[in-house]
Each structure stands twice: as structure tokens, then as C-alpha cells.
Amino acid sequence: MDTNSTARLLLKKKQDILVNWMQNQLLDDTLRDDLLSNEELNKQSEEFLDGLLKATSDGNFENIYTPEFEQTLDVLGDISITRARQGFSPRETNLYVLSLKQALTDVLEQEHQNDPRLLYQEVVLINKLLDSLSLATFETYLKGREEVILRQTDEINEISTPVIRVWDGILALPIIGTLDSSRTQIVMENLLQEIVNTGSSIAILDISGVPAVDSLVAQHLIKTVSATRLMGAECIISGIRAEIAQTIVHLGIDLSNIRTKATLASALQIAFEMLNLQVRKTGQAGNTKLLR
């Protein structure tokens, strides 16, 4: 069988294929015209088909990792990454390539009506080509999704470690979510930098938002406390819930060198005491004043 003639045939029928393909895509129930307008889809499809037919023009239907296919793969990669970001589902993204299969085989069927053997061979060929293309699409789609996830992780790391200045000389750092090595690093850096910037001498580490404490998390907490001490500030850990206290003791973690408090309020109180500050009621109801 001459794959060159197949390529020429497809090139000749390009307009038919495109119309056919567009029809297939537009007919599909899962078409997302809310995310992508039909004109854009048409433009995308034409560009992709152009590239594909050019790449196959010298009869290569087998291997898509050759230089001729580079441009096609680029176009396809762009399309699937954009779709991943726009929130297309994997099915919708993949259907884009797979619907081309139908269009191509339709054209071949019309052409080779009288020669089933040849038709079969060509259909197999087209199948192979489009299957590898759809695999490539899926791969890039996943990559696009993973990028989104990574970016979000970064963002979470950024926003989830605020250092709050609760009083002159007292910093509070509520930790929300699980502490892993990379987050501990960020927490530690933020806290130490803030200690330098504000000249605070007490830092309160509130772990009421940490779902569970295992030996690794405790290790990270101890590290943060030690680093704070090296800087010349005192560190208080607050927000230790009953379950956490239980796990810590069961795991045999020694926190005896570290000041721990059950609530942020009691930690703040201790901090006031350490700074020789006093909170007391004034004569009027409800009004609290601080005296040195």
C-alpha cells in the first residue's frame, strides 16, 4: 500500500475533512461553546489540520516524534494546555482529536468504496496516528493541570503563613493546615524575618489549625522554636488541643523545653507577663486598659 497516495488524497480532500470534523464537533453533546466560541474552534481546527496534513504529506503515519510533526504537536500542546486551564474535562479535550478520526475515515470510505482491503489498511493507519496524537494531547493536558495545581500550592503557602503583630513586641503566627518540611521552612523564614523587622521579643505559634501532629511535625515545631531562640526571642506554642496533647505524649515527644499553652489567650497573657505588661479592668464596665 502506498501511504503517499493516502496523504495526497487527504490533502486534496482537506476542505471536506474540515467541514466534516467541525460538524462532528458541533454535534457533540459535550461541546463547550460557553468556554470557546465556534469561530475560534474553527480557526484552531483548521490550523491543526493544516499542520497535520503537511506533516503526513510524505507518507509518515507511524511515528509522530519526528521533526515533521513538531509543529503539529506544538499546536496540539497549546490547545490542550489552554483547555486544561480553561477547565475543559479530559473527555472534552480528547474528543477534539478523536472526532477527527471519524472525519478522516469518512473521506477514505467514500474514496475506496470498492476496495475494502485498502480501506481497512488505511483506516488502521489513521487509527494509529490519531491514537498517538490523542495520547500526546492527554499528556499535555495533564501537564497543564499539574501546573495549575503547583501554582495553587504556592499560593496556599504564600497566604497561609501570615505573621500578625498582636502587640508591641509580640508576634502571633497562626498555622493552618499540615506542616511539612517546605512549609516549615517558609513559616520559619517569615517569622524570623518579621522578628528582625519589628524587633519583637516574643513569638506565639498557634497550632489550633493543624489537623494532626506526628513526630515529624513536632520536629519541625521544635526547629522553629530553636531558631527563634537563637535570634534572641522567646517562642510560645499555643492552641494545643486534647487529641494533640495525647498524640504528643504517646509518641514520646519531649516538649518540656518549650513553653506551651492551650489557647492563644493564655499564651498572650504569659507574653504580657514576660514583658511586664498588665491587662486590667478600669472602673467602667467592659473597658480594659493596659498599664506598664
Binding site: L192, K223, R229, L230, G232, K289
Partner: protein
């Protein structure tokens, strides 16, 4: 040979390290400082490392050594102005400088030394600062 100057301030010794320490320099410092402590009978040693950006385990050990040696000779050691990066490095190296007092800056380090050694030089000032903060 390079040496780090050691200044005597009343009952305390003051060392500010303005360069990155290499091993020889650190060893000299340890030596000189302990000699000075014994010579002057100093009650406290304040080491300012705010300009130090790089530490290694050796440097951490020297700091610990100085503290322990001074302790034996009845002098407290305060390390002040450690940079965040330096603190993180030391913790990662597992050197938490037990027995060394730390403070954020020289001023607070001095206060801490007075506190630790029970010497009341700033008595007058302290009285001035005392209560007297009228609520409104």
C-alpha cells in the same frame, strides 16, 4: 595576623564580628576572649554577630565553646543580632547553642547581661522609666 578586637565595657566584654569568620580567626577569638575574661575578671561576654551571614558547624561549636568556657569562669555569654538565615542554618545543623543566651540586638543583650549578672548599673534610668503611664 588578623584579630577581632575585644572591647571592655565596665564589667563586660564586647566583641563585634564584622567579617565572615574563618577557622583560624575563630580559634584566635576563642583564645583571646578567654584570656581577656581571666585577665579582667569580666562578668559577661557579649558577641554581636549581626554582620555574619555565613556559619558552619565549626563556627557554631566555637560559639558554644566560648559560652561553656566563660561559664566556668563565671561569665555569662550573650550572642546578639543573629540573622534569620544563620539561625535556620544552625538549627538545621542541629546546633541549638545550649547555654548561650541570645538577644535581638546589642541594647537588649546588654540589658540581659545586667539581668543575668545582677549588676544594677542603670538604676537611675530604670527609675525614670518606671510606672507613671497615665491611662488617658
Amino acid at each position: 595576623m588578623d584579630r577581632i578586637p575585644i572591647l571592655k565595657m565596665g564589667p563586660f566584654l564586647l566583641v563585634t564580628i564584622q567579617v565572615d569568620l574563618y577557622d583560624r580567626l575563630a580559634l584566635n577569638l576563642e583564645n583571646d576572649l578567654i584570656t581577656m575574661v581571666s585577665k579582667t575578671g569580666a562578668r559577661g561576654v557579649l558577641i554581636d554577630i549581626s554582620a555574619v551571614t555565613i556559619v558552619d558547624s565549626f563556627m557554631g561549636r566555637i560559639l558554644g565553646n566560648i559560652a561553656s568556657m566563660s561559664r566556668i569562669m563565671d561569665a555569662e555569654t550573650v550572642v546578639v543580632g543573629m540573622q534569620p538565615a544563620v539561625a535556620i542554618t544552625l538549627v538545621e545543623l542541629g546546633l541549638t547553642l545550649q547555654g548561650v543566651h541570645t538577644a535581638l540586638n546589642v541594647e537588649r543583650g546588654m540589658d540581659l547581661l545586667y539581668q543575668k549578672t545582677d549588676i544594677l548599673l542603670h538604676q537611675d534610668e530604670e527609675e525614670e522609666e518606671a510606672p507613671e503611664q497615665d491611662p488617658e
